[in-house]
């Protein structure tokens, strides 16, 4: 604080700091609550004794979760979809963004292609037709239904093509004069100088693949093919249960919420959030740049 500050200003600065720190804590508390629950004994959790610190510390809910075949199975599906989905999506994004980043004078068909990609943002077939089409491709219950439909991430393409456009034109011109092919130019020049943008897209794609759950729910008939988030959705949230029940009363719902074991749910929720939390410092390093890059260009 500055010595020259007026009293009112000092009060404001203190209140402001307190307010913002409270706000930050509000963002974190739910996670701490779930973490405390996951390390507590289930009797303490059922009694409602757990707040922000574990009561009767135990690892049993984690042991239970990690010994559950459904949990491990879905974890495996998730890992496969993250790896495969990210590789495919990133490749498609890079090779699509490069030609689209060319000026119209250098690549006359660009405008047509740009619209071809852009239209898919504006309009979509909707849930049922997309489901029917993927069913007709016989992709239900295969990993392809999870990785291919979203592989052409148009917003990531936009982000990268704007980054490409922001690099000095001379690099491309000089390389082409020196007899470089477009393919070499892309992989040997553009990709290496676009590492910050690519890192942003890589991390966002990984998180997106990890977090996706709805595609698993509709395209996988067999729960053994569920990715982790879908498995968790059916376990923890499970509106299916409610819809099947029809006329549930408020009392029934309360009873249902109490019967199910809070601590095992909490541990599985936390395990599903863990990879994102681990990646988070890296994400934060890049996304500030990435977001600003993509959204507020001149």
């Amino acid at each position: 604080m500055d010595i020259n500050d007026s009293l009112g200003r000092k009060v404001f600065l203190i209140c402001n700091n307190v307010f913002l720190i409270t706000l930050a804590v509000v963002c974190l508390l739910p996670l701490i609550n779930i973490l405390a629950l996951s390390f507590s004994s289930s009797s303490a959790a059922t009694a409602g004794a757990v707040k922000l610190w574990p009561v009767d510390f135990t690892l049993s809910s984690y042991k239970y979760a990690l010994s559950k075949p459904e949990f491990l199975q879905s974890l495996f599906v998730s890992i496969v979809r993250v790896v495969l989905g990210t590789i495919i999506s990133l490749l498609v994004v890079v090779i699509s963004a490069y030609p689209l980043s060319k000026e119209r004078t250098d690549f006359p068909m660009r405008t047509f292609y740009v619209w071809f990609f852009f239209v898919t943002i504006l309009f979509s077939g909707g849930l049922i037709p997309t489901y029917m089409v993927i069913r007709n491709y016989h992709m239900l219950d295969t990993i392809w239904a999870l990785v291919l439909p979203g592989a052409v991430a148009v917003f990531n393409i936009v982000l990268l093509l704007n980054f490409f456009r922001g690099t000095p034109k001379e690099i491309q011109e000089a390389a082409l004069v020196d007899g470089c092919t477009q393919w070499q130019l892309l992989w040997k020049m553009m990709v290496p100088i676009s590492i910050p943008a690519l890192a942003t897209i890589l991390l966002f794609t990984c998180v997106g693949q990890w977090n996706a759950w709805f595609d698993g729910l509709i395209y996988m008939n067999s729960p053994t093919n569920y990715p982790l988030q879908t498995y968790l959705q059916t376990l923890v949230v499970s509106t299916e249960l409610f819809t099947a029940g029809g006329n549930l009363t408020a009392e029934d719902m309360k009873a249902l919420a109490e019967v199910s074991d809070r601590t095992t749910k909490a541990s599985q929720i936390f395990l599903a959030a863990l990879p994102v939390l681990v990646l988070y410092p890296f994400l934060q390093k890049y996304f500030m740049k990435g977001i600003v890059l993509g959204s507020v260009k001149g």
């Binding site: 913002l20 739910p30 689209l100 990609f117 909707g126 037709p129 029917m132 409610f242």
Partner: protein, 306 residues
Amino acid sequence: MLQAATVKRRRSWKKHLPLHLMLVPGILLLIMFHYIPMAGIVIAFQNFIPAKGFFDSKWVGWNNFEFMLQMPGIGQVLWNTIFIAFLKIIFGQIAPIVTALLLNEVRKSSIKRSVQTLIYLPHFLSWVILGGILIDILSPSQGLLNEVISWFGMEPLFFLGNDKLFPYVLVVTDVWKEFGFGTIVYLAALTSINPTLYEAAIMDGAGRWKQTIHVTLPGMLPIIVLLATLGLGGVLNAGFDQVFNLYNPLVYRTGDILDTFVYRLGLIDAQYAVATAVGLFKSVVSLIFVGASYWLAYRIAGYRIF
């Protein structure tokens, strides 16, 4: 002349062949998973039977749409969608702007950075995870929030089972998840304000408050207008992921939105044709809004995504 033009075109084609080839995978995937489903919208005009497929199902014209309009509750669902989406657009804009302005006043960069780190976090967690956490925290009997409420001597509230509260629970939790992330763009806009403007304002005797009103806010205005305009496009997107993970039959009256309605109608009740018709209605209205918002953003702020 004609020959020269053909030769030139052929040469241009050959020169650009690598660029065309690079676009092949993307285009194939878009055709397979976006354009063919768009053609699949024909279901909305058919008495669609999956075994018969797109080609052999009987055409019924606008019947499905007439059926849709007669469905009980469709008006309420549409109203819920607009109401929830609208509140989210408004508060989803205001909260980050205010937070960004307050963060901008913080002197200690350590506080600023830690606050930023924490408020961005919920954005990266899926609604499945947050749904699971919220269901626990908002639970009427054991939840943390009702515990806090009881300290003040109030009756516990059944946040996710009370249809009067539910839409507001959706709005508050959505703002909670996204406001921090939303500040990024505004903070970036703040750093790009020319410092000499502040110096000039101080010379003219403006205090911090006056500086905020006359320098900071006008400096942020273009990006505020741009994001508000683009936000218009989401007027029918009330947030499927969130609603789906938090709602239940007790709150269908006020919490059911077009997307969840289509999901239950189509994939649970297997009424493919009618569900597609409802989905098509939503897509077309959204197209108009999104198109208009991009057009406006272009006219007002010169914004182009490509």
